[in-house]
Subunit: 453 residues, 2 copies
Amino acid sequence: MVEGNGTRSPHRVVIVGGGFGGLYAAKGLGRAPVEVTLVDKRNFHLFQPLLYQVATGTLSPADISSPLRGILNRFKNIQVLMDEVIDLDPAAQTIILPGREIPYDSLIVATGVSHHYFGNDHWQPTAPGLKTVEDALEMRRRIFMAFEAAEKEPDPEKRRAWLTFVIVGGGPTGVELAGAIAELAFNTLKHDFRNIDTAETQILLLEGLDRILPPYLPELSAKAAAALQRLGITVQTQSMVTDIANDIVTYKRNGQMEAIAAKTILWAAGVKASAMGQVLANRTHASLDRSGRVIVEPDLSIAHHPNIFVIGDLAHFAHQGDKPLPGVAPVAVQEGEYVARLIKKRLQGESLPPFTYVDAGSLAVIGQNAAVVDLGFIRLTGAIAWLAWVFVHIYYLIEFDNKLIVMLQWGWNYFTRNRGARLITGESSLSQDVQNTCDNYQAPAGMGSPVKV
Amino acid sequence: MVEGNGTRSPHRVVIVGGGFGGLYAAKGLGRAPVEVTLVDKRNFHLFQPLLYQVATGTLSPADISSPLRGILNRFKNIQVLMDEVIDLDPAAQTIILPGREIPYDSLIVATGVSHHYFGNDHWQPTAPGLKTVEDALEMRRRIFMAFEAAEKEPDPEKRRAWLTFVIVGGGPTGVELAGAIAELAFNTLKHDFRNIDTAETQILLLEGLDRILPPYLPELSAKAAAALQRLGITVQTQSMVTDIANDIVTYKRNGQMEAIAAKTILWAAGVKASAMGQVLANRTHASLDRSGRVIVEPDLSIAHHPNIFVIGDLAHFAHQGDKPLPGVAPVAVQEGEYVARLIKKRLQGESLPPFTYVDAGSLAVIGQNAAVVDLGFIRLTGAIAWLAWVFVHIYYLIEFDNKLIVMLQWGWNYFTRNRGARLITGESSLSQDVQNTCDNYQAPAGMGSPVKV
């Protein structure tokens, strides 16, 4: 942009989203001859791969979150805004937020995905997913509340329903959740209750395809399934959930209808693009795939708009191999770094070859001692895989104090089988049943008027 | 209780409340020839003295909380129930909960206090207090949101109101909060913003009496006030809040009416007894003081009911010195331990002398380097007082992993001036203004229908 007096104002980069993609793009542009504005609805970067550990009481949200300002404040050319983008004007080259517009020369959209209930959004309140801190805290509340409720429940059938957990989705999130709940039920909480035996807990993992961890090699899927079963989890593949209502999960397995009574149902099954995907489709020529993700060019820009990029989980990049790149953290990181390099190159009048992803491998952990790791040139299972998983996750955590705290929590957890964050918090910490009973309490005859405590 | 076949069923102790009083009473009865049931609305014990550190982003809730079951599970004679007591039947010797009654031979009520708004309960949504984890998280949200909102605010007057914090109440909680917010504004967040200079933050501490920390010696109050002023806090004594409305705090100071525009108002001013106090007054001959606390006998029981005890913040114990014992943690701990010893003695047909509190001293911290400590035989201020404060708080933290985590967070915070938990979380993480604007957004003419992101 050349202004009236002939000076060129600096190249403005706007980044929407402070997850792995947006954050690494920003870091790549720190100290570059650009002005960067990073916009996010939250004030922190969240390490999503460890959210299931917040949900099962091992870690606190702050242990896996880093304030965006704290990470970026050393780059004087980067400004952070806590706000929400609601529209886009590609002709004027501005993004639109409530009460303001921000102009850009390059735009990087990295707003990720949320849950997908396959057209059954009404299941969401009953079967929460795991994408945000609030999701994880709600899951935590329900998991620990289930044991508390079972402890107080005189009816054996209801008690069994409280001690039954159904996890929908056999990808890494579902697998890791199942393993962590098994550790809780069969280890951590073993001595905590007097009326129930947590060893009677039933954990059911439902996967629609023919094996869990479908992106992995079949033999690794099989090893993972065996590890889960050794942990006491029931794994059922080729099982598609057809209904969730009245504390009963109904699913179709190999053509047969089955049902199970479960008070706690956790959703780890599908992703749906964030709404910025639709904004881009409406305002530009961008096309979306079936999940709403934006189809991108080999340099991660969108068709006919070389200065608008989409990276991370929201991007559908199908120029490498026979499948689009998966929605995992290392892909987002590399895409963010690539776009930053590309923008800098363009400022010098140059360009870069198309983006290529260097696959560092896949990891999923099962409980405290086992994992499956596929690094391409080597595959690991068991304890050594678990160690690799631990180190990779510590490596990717932003902020040194997070690395320290998480290592400490994991060390503590490993040696004492004690989880440090087993809190039930939130507005209605007692179950709705109890709350209703309190509200409707009638004192026994002869005791005078009841007093609400 | 002697049952039909001549065997004596064990003495049943019911403890209501798992704070300092109830928890230490339970621990005192572990392995005694009694059956203990501890009832609490939450599943964890909360270390309230450090809640202000959760509110200002240094610690996470789990760092200062310990699951009750985890602490007590090694005592096979103690059962924990997560539930709420709604009434009492002293004739039948039962407590009443939703859907159940629990019989007792000895009852210990330790349900504490909550906030007191001096008849202005409608101030509560605007001026949150600090008694529970949810309180602290809400305070945290508002404090950090204020800086984010100021960063985006073009109007200088509104920006100043966002950067103005009013803390009502000059006791230890208010003093510690004020010091922590000053550290945030003038240190931690110094480099995080581009449109605002956090050094312009104004922090006002309002106290109704003639000096802050009224229970302390006057010279310690004076030193604390001087330390706060050095940190950049404005301390105004003899200031009683008369109204909080439309982001303006109106107060009467030395007879003059004054007002200040402030978007963030934090309440640390008064306590009101929990509702169990009223239940006891209704169902027994117990009397209440002006704050609703239960007046107790020299052995902490209530008049005419030697087997019903009230301990902790809910108890008004006026048999030592010329004032009732303060609502602080060491008092609750000693009272809980005393009642446990007394119950055990009675089982042997013996008794104990009346309760006497051994005053270990008072401590309040101001910022990162100063504190006031009064141990009776010695008074400390400055850095050495701060060290004493640190060690005492670590000592009283339950669970070794909490001690370790908190020492780590404090060490990290001290050396890096970085606070590890500066998250804005909660259902509506954006301010209500922004939310309303999103909902009412109209696309500029010519752009087609707006898309809600």
